[in-house]
């Protein structure tokens, strides 16, 4: 099976169109399962009461913000190395979703911090580096929108994304390297998780829901980007519903 034939916008456009409903459906299912587990099944926290339940949105959003940046930098780097415009379009499509999840992580964290820490915001290492991640996403989108030539915009944005990828390990390890107010890592690869299984399952379901949502939305966005940038091409003109 020659997968590389999908690296052209013309062949990927219909494939993406067929993939979107599946991922959207998976996202809905996982979201419903996750919300059910997080509200109905997970127990009340001993210290924090019911307010801890924002963790089920906050942690998956933060995970996605870092993960999307790495994927975006990966596609951007691939586009730079192989000179493939579809890879660059994919990076461009992922950026707004990544920025939204970063903002969501910051806002939900802030809403959680007020009752728990007594402060809407503290300048500790993890919060600051997550804020830097938001600025990196916005810088990436601003740079791409300010350059007129789309291929030059792709390459410049790709370089910026790759330079900024050094921030993601800093966010991830910030709670280990610095004395921070933000709690340390509860879940890591090397040891058993330090939280109740039902809470963990709720978080994982919602993380999967956010992931499926990201894929569905990015595919929808990349289809729009393809139509905009390839509007002169014959295959776009031939699509039903496209005004010539």
């Amino acid at each position: 099976m020659n997968w590389f034939k999908y690296s052209s916008p013309q062949t990927f456009y219909p494939l993406a169109g067929r993939m979107i409903p599946w991922f959207a459906g998976l996202a809905t299912l996982f979201a419903l399962a996750g919300l059910y587990v997080s509200f109905a099944i997970a127990p009340t926290d001993f210290q924090q009461g019911e307010a801890y339940r924002i963790i089920f949105v906050h942690v998956p959003a933060a995970w996605m913000s870092m993960f999307i940046y790495i994927v975006m930098a990966g596609w951007a780097g691939l586009g730079l190395a192989l000179n493939a415009r579809l890879s660059a379009m994919m990076a461009q499509a992922l950026a707004p979703t990544g920025a939204i999840f970063t903002l969501l992580a910051l806002v939900t964290g802030s809403l959680w911090g007020k009752p728990m820490w007594g402060a809407w915001w503290v300048w500790d290492a993890r919060l600051t580096s997550e804020l830097i991640l938001l600025f990196l996403y916005i810088g990436f989108m601003a740079l791409q929108s300010s350059i007129d030539d789309p291929r030059r915009a792709d390459r410049a944005g790709a370089l910026l994304a790759l330079v900024g990828v050094v921030n993601v390990p800093i966010i991830y390890f910030s709670v280990k390297w610095w004395n921070t107010l933000h709690q340390g890592s509860t879940i890591n690869m090397g040891a058993a998780p330090k939280m109740v299984a039902t809470m963990l399952i709720g978080m994982l379901f919602l993380a999967l829901a956010f992931w499926m949502y990201t894929i569905a939305v990015s595919l929808m966005r990349v289809r729009c980007i393809m139509l905009e940038r390839e509007r002169h091409a014959e295959w776009v003109q031939a699509l039903s519903g496209v005004k010539s």
Binding site: F135, I138, S146, R152, R155, A156, N167
Partner: protein, 222 residues
């Protein structure tokens, strides 16, 4: 290769010397921003010495950012940047000469003036020393990282503000360690850790930033 490197360094320094007003604006911007804060906040010495590390470092950062576009813009408009790209020497090495020229012209004056501004903020002499050291170790990183932003936004409209948006997130670690060094020495603690991390930032950017800048220049000039 060193001959080419020295030639570019000399050329950039000569061009900067011919347009001294460009250089002077950077220095005067630093002085003015540093003078605005006491006027706005009030002359109480204890308050000023508390905010001094952060304010002075942010002023140095902003002054550096203002001057970033002049690193490559003039050469880009008159075509000599294209000739630089065609040179047989590795572009990263030649770019390093331009960055060094920029630092000598915009970063070093800030380092030399900082102790005098620090006196305005009632910083003790130990903290003044640390301020000079932190700026000396940190401003090269600012020039190096800023060069990447300057190269990415060549010829783009609104590039002055866009460069600021792009490089500020990357500047934040340098700012945190730089201001932290001075604050640590003000509280009687050793600034060793902060200064070491600052030097590490500068060394890391010394190795990686010219490569990224060279790649960005090739992207911008194509």
């Amino acid at each position: 290769m060193s001959q080419a490197w020295l030639t570019i360094l000399q050329r950039d320094l000569l061009l900067a010397f011919r347009r001294r007003s460009d250089v002077a604006t950077t220095v005067f911007f630093f002085l003015m921003v540093a003078s605005l804060f006491p006027l706005g906040i009030g002359p109480e010495a204890s308050v000023l010495s508390n905010i001094a590390p952060g304010v002075l470092w942010v002023a140095a950062l902003l002054a550096g950012m203002i001057s970033l576009t002049r690193m490559f813009a003039a050469d880009f408009t008159d075509g000599s940047l294209e000739q630089l790209l065609l040179a047989p020497q590795p572009l990263a090495v030649l770019v390093l000469a331009k960055i060094l020229a920029h630092w000598l012209v915009c970063g070093l004056p800030v380092v030399l003036l900082a102790p005098f501004i620090g006196l305005q903020y009632a910083l003790p002499s130990e903290a003044l020393w640390v301020l000079v050291w932190s700026l000396l170790l940190g401003t090269p990183a600012l020039s190096l990282i800023g060069a990447i932003g300057a190269a990415l936004t060549l010829g783009v409209r609104g590039s002055g503000l866009l460069v600021a948006l792009l490089v500020l997130p990357l500047y934040i670690p340098v700012l945190i360690f730089g201001a932290g060094a001075v604050a640590a020495s003000q509280h009687g603690m050793s600034a060793q850790a902060h200064l070491s991390l600052l030097a590490a930032c500068s060394l890391l950017s010394l190795v990686l930033a010219p490569l990224a800048t060279a790649a960005a220049l090739r992207i911008s000039v194509e």
